[in-house]
Symmetry: C4
Subunit: 235 residues, 4 copies
């Protein structure tokens, strides 16, 4: 069942390692079949060297395992909330990639300091609030999804392909599992360059709005002209 | 004698290089056979390219060589003291991995600034005091073990899979030689993220206790639910 | 048409990835045939894994596609302006390499703090001004070329094999596409060392002029004595 | 002539690249045959991909080429002065390795902040003064050797396997070409850890003298006990 999606999700999880976005088992990628309303996700805590595409777990929108021998990622309820809230996304990546996690731990949004950022995020990379003690005590992973959705209220999901969860790390998304990993790679590089820019010049100002607008719109939306036709709107 | 353990210890030592935790010969991994009360450890100062599993040295709990042509690691007495003090550990890794060594040299414990840390250490990564001149002059390596044990007095060994020796570097441990190397890899990443978080925001506060508790208990102890059954309690 | 130049441009683009100067599709290298007055450049937004030498696009000096199925890099007009202004250069590289981009975002020229720098740039690495809103609104990429040329007015192009565009990133050049990538690699390392030097000692002074002169002239100009005869004047 | 030494020098030069101590052609390793009083060194500015062992150049103690088609490294006179001054060294490496160069540019000796350092340098990593304008104008490379020797006056060469030339970068040495590269690798890691320690805690004190003594003497001199017999006194 869902063999192609399992393969896509498996490949995307391996790419987390290849891109140096995770060590150990610290990450998970999922994908959704919007027709069947089923999510495929990495099993929890399994060594990447031993994992196969068949180990991917299929869950329904309540988090019940529909197929698979293994327990799904403990972060599965977070993924499900995001898929429910944002119909436009079909893949989600969670990692503890270094520089994105640094901003999440420092409780700082990533300001837009250059065109590298503006090509990908329309403004600061958003940061959630901390979960309350009550939100942590019950349904922690589901509530993690809800604080993400709370932070994105009123925003276009296309304007931010990822977010930082306070004290935790990044979640990223895209039109496919592979694209969500690509967005995490991009977020990590944006975070690294911003970190070092702030270290070199703590008084640096945000990129002027007219350059932010130009760069974001060059790659996104109806008047984008970056890339080939078939890839219009993609990175 | 102890061929399997020699192989495990050898493989774990090679992984130190693969994980970029050491350069040159700056590290050593050991394992213990609790039934025979014998420790297997890397020989001292031997080039990793030339080392074989048969070069691993077997010593008894007094540090006497029981089998092996080569001298054991000069840090062997430190390992032995830790095995005597903590019956729950069966593998030990010592390295000079960069960021862990930076905190050890800066004489700072690593504060718990995020869930990456909380998943693995239940509170700050502990730091020993400096050895006194007397402790350095006689039985230096044994006394290094004793100051580690002194620092951990009253703590559960499960709550800290590693420690920083002041001015020196990390020692890590686990249920096997391989797990002790994995813990060093994790400590190194935690140290890197903490270093950069403090660089970005020197006024950052520790992660709220209720999130620390949640994350540590999600992966450790009787109510852990991360990973598969067979791996319960492991990372 | 221009098969050799296409191969050179293709190889140089792949080298951007190999040298870790870019992630994703964030870079472009071009080359010029000065006899035919045609530029060969990477297509826009194409995955490096799928790109072949035949995908390189040939454009004339007005940016019109002369050969090729794909759209040329959106930065093509910037490259063309530079080729028109500087007859001595035959290859151009644009990337968002980390440390060079950090200085561009911090709005700081890279001061000459050591002989590594002096071997390659005769003085600070120059930085452009921001483009105005008007310059961004129409002919953005062409105007990016013009602000680079404005900043270099009165300088010998040989004294600066690259420049930082404010809030954006580096452009580098050389006698061939391959050399322009090599100059980006060198600029990135110079930027990294300068960044860390300033972090360690913010009061550091520029290298004395007599050492700057010695090192730059040792490798460039009529009295250079670095390298072999056939390579005189090259790095 | 000197085929074995040419092979050793060639291999050691390649290792500079493998260890990420250099990019481009920014480094050179030499070796000396003390019986014949001849030095073998890398040719100047030759691409590492194209270089063979036969390209190594043989020079006498006045810098005259005795064998070889290519020009020797422009830094050859520096190497020769060091071989003349220090009969105990048989291999020399010069590079612009990042963190060592950062301290050289910041005009700071590297303080001994931990046992990683104390295992290898008996006290701070020394730094030369700047060469004067006169010293730069004539016989620059020879004078670079002389300021190194000036700085080391009164020191045991064994207590410092390398030095930083102000505003330039490191020179390292050892009993063979290979060992001199190994010392550069070690110096680079020591510099990195010191840089980050100072960044984390600018008020950190030097390692207590009794620990410095213990660690240096554990690996060097008549009472060393690190490593195997045949390797006594080596790292």
């Amino acid at each position: 069942m869902l063999e192609n999606l399992k393969r896509d999700v498996f490949d995307a999880n391996l790419r987390l390692v290849e891109y140096n976005l995770i060590i150990s088992t610290w990450g998970n990628v999922s994908g959704i079949d919007r027709d069947k309303n089923l999510v495929v996700i990495k099993p929890s805590g399994v060594d990447y060297d031993e994992m196969t595409a068949d180990d991917m777990v299929v869950v329904d929108m309540n988090g019940n395992v529909v197929e698979g021998e293994l327990k799904p990622s403990s972060d599965t309820p977070t993924h499900i909330e995001l898929y429910k809230a944002f119909p436009g996304i079909n893949g989600i990546t969670h990692s503890h990639s270094t520089y994105a996690t640094v901003f999440a731990q420092a409780l700082m949004e990533i300001p837009c300091l250059g065109t590298t950022h503006a090509d990908n995020f329309y403004g600061s990379v958003p940061l959630t609030r901390f979960l309350t003690e009550e939100e942590v005590m019950s349904d922690y992973e589901k509530n993690t999804g809800l604080v993400i959705i709370e932070r994105l209220a009123g925003m276009q999901i296309e304007s931010a392909p990822g977010i930082l969860v306070a004290g935790h790390g990044p979640f990223c998304w895209g039109k496919s599992p592979a694209e969500s990993v690509e967005k995490n790679l991009i977020l990590e590089k944006i975070a690294e360059i911003a970190f070092k820019t702030l270290s070199l010049n703590k008084d640096v100002q945000n990129l002027p709005d007219y350059i932010l607008n130009k760069h974001f719109m060059r790659k996104h939306g109806p008047n984008s002209y970056y890339g080939q036709m078939k890839q219009q709107g993609e990175k």
